[in-house]
């Protein structure tokens, strides 16, 4: 159908970004194809040490899911996106396919081994999320291709993560956000994945910050090194949410907080977090 309608047609998932964009005339699709009536596109399954999310799974369903709760960083993300009403409509597949630089899911999911399964006319393909999102609002999806499923590996034993976003109010995009997923062995950090959101064209992986933690005992000194590396890796723009310098400092501070929570969670502690409001 999409190939018949041509490349000015768009698909509609939760619509919580696309409909506002259409009202502002930033998007003006020739046709809208509503995916919401296709059955079997909303599910959360656990199989072979992986979680599978149907593309139209709503944020609210993930927020309420006991399966997703096993990976706390997923719950942090799902429960913090916008507000109740938006979470009841918005979808994980839509969030990734839109690739908004301020979107929450991409920032969280690139810290986990995540694959995006896409369905097109010629069949299916699966690619890592880091290859799926190419640039701001740009993915490798062809115009007649859809996200079918998001698949992520359950973190290994000793895994712990946290996602923190700083927002001016619930319905708006964050000013900056940070996702940290650690694998701990005792007090040694075996592996670290960090992502910064809203401070670049896509979520940024500050490799130097990850390297500062990997193989180390996490002390104030290693955390400071990670913060500094994150501050340098961030590439924000000055806008009405704050100056570039402010956002850099904010992203670094969120990284530190998220590291602290990730360590406690890796040790088996229940730590409840929510997005931080100005």
């Amino acid at each position: 159908m999409l190939s018949q309608l041509g490349d000015e047609a768009k698909v509609l998932a939760g619509g919580q970004s696309l409909i506002p964009l259409m009202k502002l005339r930033f998007a003006n699709p020739s046709h809208l194809v509503d995916l919401n009536f296709i059955s079997g596109t909303s599910y959360i399954k656990e199989e072979n040490n992986a979680l599978r999310f149907g593309a139209l799974t709503r944020h609210a369903e993930i927020e309420a899911s006991p399966i997703a709760a096993k990976i706390p960083i997923l719950h942090d993300c799902a429960a913090g996106i916008a507000d109740v009403q938006v979470r009841n409509r918005g979808t994980i597949g839509g969030s990734l396919a839109e690739a908004d630089p301020s979107g929450d899911w991409a920032t969280v999911l690139i810290t986990l081994p995540t694959e995006v399964r896409c369905l097109g006319r010629t069949g299916e393909r699966s690619l890592p999320l880091s290859d799926f999102i190419k640039d701001a609002y740009t993915t490798t999806l062809a115009h007649d291709e859809l996200v079918r499923e998001v698949v992520l590996k359950v973190p290994p034993k000793g895994g712990g993560g946290a996602y923190l976003a700083f927002k001016r109010s619930a319905p708006v995009y964050p000013t900056a956000s940070a996702a940290v997923q650690l694998t701990m062995e005792g007090d040694i950090c075996k592996d670290a994945a960090i992502a910064l959101g809203c401070v670049g064209l896509t979520a940024i992986r500050p490799k130097e910050a990850e390297a500062a933690l990997r193989g180390q005992r996490i002390t104030d000194k290693t955390k400071s090194a990670a913060m500094e590396a994150a501050r340098i890796a961030a590439d924000p723009q000055t806008d009405m949410r704050g100056s570039a310098d402010y956002k850099r400092t904010l992203a670094a501070a969120l990284v530190k907080r998220a590291i602290d929570i990730a360590i406690r969670r890796a040790a088996g502690q229940q730590v409840e977090v929510s997005h931080i409001y100005a």
Partner: protein
């Protein structure tokens, strides 16, 4: 000028009443409610998915009716503020908002009451944090949130007692 658009047939239930209509596909759910069904209790505050004045329940879930096309509600059960009262009796949430002075200008109130309904239908004893989270998508520009929290607590109490 946009060209004339073919209308689409639509069936949905609003406040318990089944409607069969024919609407342009571009019509938003809130436009259907306000302008076609004349249910003007649902308000449009910002029209940008921010303020929540247009909140209605769709199949039991609070949604912003300005951020959905009417045709997406095909087959759905929609509840608006007009559907809260029963047999001329105000709903306990409506009474509580009045008794607690949980409104000033009243513009955001229909949306807030619907968000309260979603909260209390799942959680009859919300704590302050849960209340804050439940209405985070509803902006009161008179800034009178304290009495709104009192109203939610009173509604919860009255609904538990009922």
């Amino acid at each position: 000028m946009p060209e004339a658009v073919e209308k689409v047939t639509l069936q949905l239930t609003v406040n318990g009443k089944l409607h069969s209509l024919s609407v342009e596909p571009r019509v938003l759910l809130v436009e259907l409610l306000r302008e076609i069904l004349d249910l003007t209790g649902t308000h449009v505050g910002c029209d940008t998915t921010y303020c929540g004045a247009c909140t209605v329940l769709m199949n039991g879930a609070a949604v912003k009716s300005c951020t959905m096309f009417a045709v997406q509600a095909e087959g759905a059960e929609v509840l608006t503020v007009e559907g809260l009262e029963k047999d001329g009796e105000l709903h306990p949430i409506q009474k509580a908002f009045g008794d607690s002075y949980g409104l000033q200008c009243g513009y955001c109130t229909p949306g807030l009451m619907i968000s309260t309904l979603q909260l209390l239908s799942k959680n009859r004893k919300p704590n302050e944090k849960e209340m804050r989270k439940a209405i985070a998508g509803n902006t009161c520009r008179c800034t009178g949130y304290q009495n709104i929290f009192k109203a939610i607590q009173l509604a919860a109490k009255n609904m538990n007692g009922a």
